[in-house]
Subunit: 148 residues, 4 copies
Amino acid sequence: MPFTYNRTVHFQDTDAAGVVYFANLLSICHEAYEESLGTSGINLKDFFTNQSVAYPIVHANVDFLRPLFCGDKLLISLIPQKLGVDKFEIAYEITVDDVVVAKAITRHVCIDASSRSKQELPDEIIQWLETNRRDAEGAERRKSREIM
Amino acid sequence: MPFTYNRTVHFQDTDAAGVVYFANLLSICHEAYEESLGTSGINLKDFFTNQSVAYPIVHANVDFLRPLFCGDKLLISLIPQKLGVDKFEIAYEITVDDVVVAKAITRHVCIDASSRSKQELPDEIIQWLETNRRDAEGAERRKSREIM
Amino acid sequence: MPFTYNRTVHFQDTDAAGVVYFANLLSICHEAYEESLGTSGINLKDFFTNQSVAYPIVHANVDFLRPLFCGDKLLISLIPQKLGVDKFEIAYEITVDDVVVAKAITRHVCIDASSRSKQELPDEIIQWLETNRRDAEGAERRKSREIM
Amino acid sequence: MPFTYNRTVHFQDTDAAGVVYFANLLSICHEAYEESLGTSGINLKDFFTNQSVAYPIVHANVDFLRPLFCGDKLLISLIPQKLGVDKFEIAYEITVDDVVVAKAITRHVCIDASSRSKQELPDEIIQWLETNRRDAEGAERRKSREIM
C-alpha cells in the first residue's frame, strides 16, 4: 500500500472564496512527504535544517478537480520515484471520501547544501524511495489481480 | 483533563533562522481550537464558512520560551473561558517532551456575520465552553490534590 | 510591455533551508495577478470576496531555476491568455537582476460561485485579458524587431 | 515621522470568513519591520539568514478593531524602542484611510545564533533603533505643538 497521510483542512488553509487557497494544497502534500520520511526513521530536524545535503524542489504542479472546504478530511497518498542518480519525484493523490479531489507532483534534486552543486542521492533517501516505491507497487499488483 | 492536540512542526512552519516563524505558532493554536470544536461535534465547514454568526479574534498574544524546530512534536493544551454574554478567550499551553515552550491566548467576540454587530453566544458554543472548562477544572482539582 | 510586479522576498516566505519555500512562490505570483487586476480598475474586494462569479485555479505549475533568499528583489512579469469562453491561464516569469529565477503558470475557470457550474467569462475579465495580452504582444513584437 | 509601510491585503491573507486571518496581520507587521531595516541600509539576507547574531521574537500581541478585507490598502507605522542592552520592542499601528484598524507589538531579544545565549545589541541595530525612535519622537513633538 502507498503511504497515506490524514489531514483535516484548517481554517487557515482557506481564503475569502471559502475554499482551500490553491498554493496551500502543495504545502499539505509536502506535509505528507515529511510524515513519510519521519515514519521511515529519518530525523526531520536534521533532514531539513542541519543538513549538508538538501533536496530542493525544482518543479511542482497541481490539478484541482473539486473545491476543498474547512473541515474536509483529506487522505493524501504518496508515491515517490527515483528519476536518476541525483533526482526523484513524488506523485500525490488527494481524496475525500474515496473521491479524488486533486493530484500533485513535486520534483526534487539532491545538492550539496553549501556549494549548491548536484550530488548523488545518499543511502538514507534511496532506501526511503525503494521502500515507498515497493509498497506502492505491491498495491498496484493487488489492484490488478482484483480486477482480473 | 484539558483538550490536547498533537502537532508535528512542519517544514513550512519554519523560516530561514531555522525555527518556527513566530506568527505560525498562533495558527497552530487555532488548529487546536478547530480540532476541539470538531471533537465536540461541531461541523467545521458550517462553523467557519456558512455561518450567520462568527467569532472573530479581537486580541491574541503569544510568549515564546524556547525555539521550535522542524519535526518537533508539540502538544497543545487548550482551556477556553467565557468572558461575558458575547465573548470568550482561549488559553493555550504548548509543550515538547513535557517542557512548556510557549503560551498563547486568543480572545473572540460573537457577532452577526452580516451586520457585524455583537450578539449573544449561541448554545452550541456555550456547551463547548462549559465542557472544556469543566474538563480543565477537573484536571486543576486533581493536580491540587496531588500537591496536597 | 507585460505587466510587472515588484516584490521583496519576506522572512516569512523562507524556510529552514534558508530559501523561499516552494509553494510560497505561487502565492507571490498570485499577488502579481491581484496587482494587475487592481491596476486595471477591478475592485479586489468585490472580485475575490463578494462575487457571484469566481475564477478558481484548476491547475498550477512552477519551475525553479535558482534559489531565492530573504531580501531578494523579485520582478514578476505576467502574461494572461484566454483559453476558451470560460477559461484563461497566466504565465509568470520571475527575475532577479534580469536573470530568470523561476517560471510559473496558473489556469483558471470561470464559474457561478453558488452553483459552481462553468459560465462564460464576463466583460470585466475579458477586457483585462485583452489589455494585458496586447501589452505583452507589443513587447514581443518590439523584441523581434530589435533582434532583426 | 515614524517609518511607514504600504501594503495591500492579498487574497492569501484572507480566510473563509472573508477577512484577514488573524495571525497573518502579525506577518504583515513583520514585513514592515523588514522594510524598515532594509531602508536603513541593513542587508536582509545577512540579517535574517547568515547571521551569527539573531533577534528572535519572545512576545507578540495584536488587537483588532475592525475587519480587514482583500484589497484594503493598509498603512503600517512602526515605532521601535530599546528595552535593555539585549532587547527591544516594536509597536505597530495599522490604519486604513486614516482609521486605526489594528495595533500590534513584537518583543525581540538579541542572541548568539549558535549558542542561543543572550548578547548585547550590536551597533547596526542600535543605530536603527535610535534613528527610528528619533523620527517617531519628532512626529510626536510636532503633533503636540499642533494641539497646543
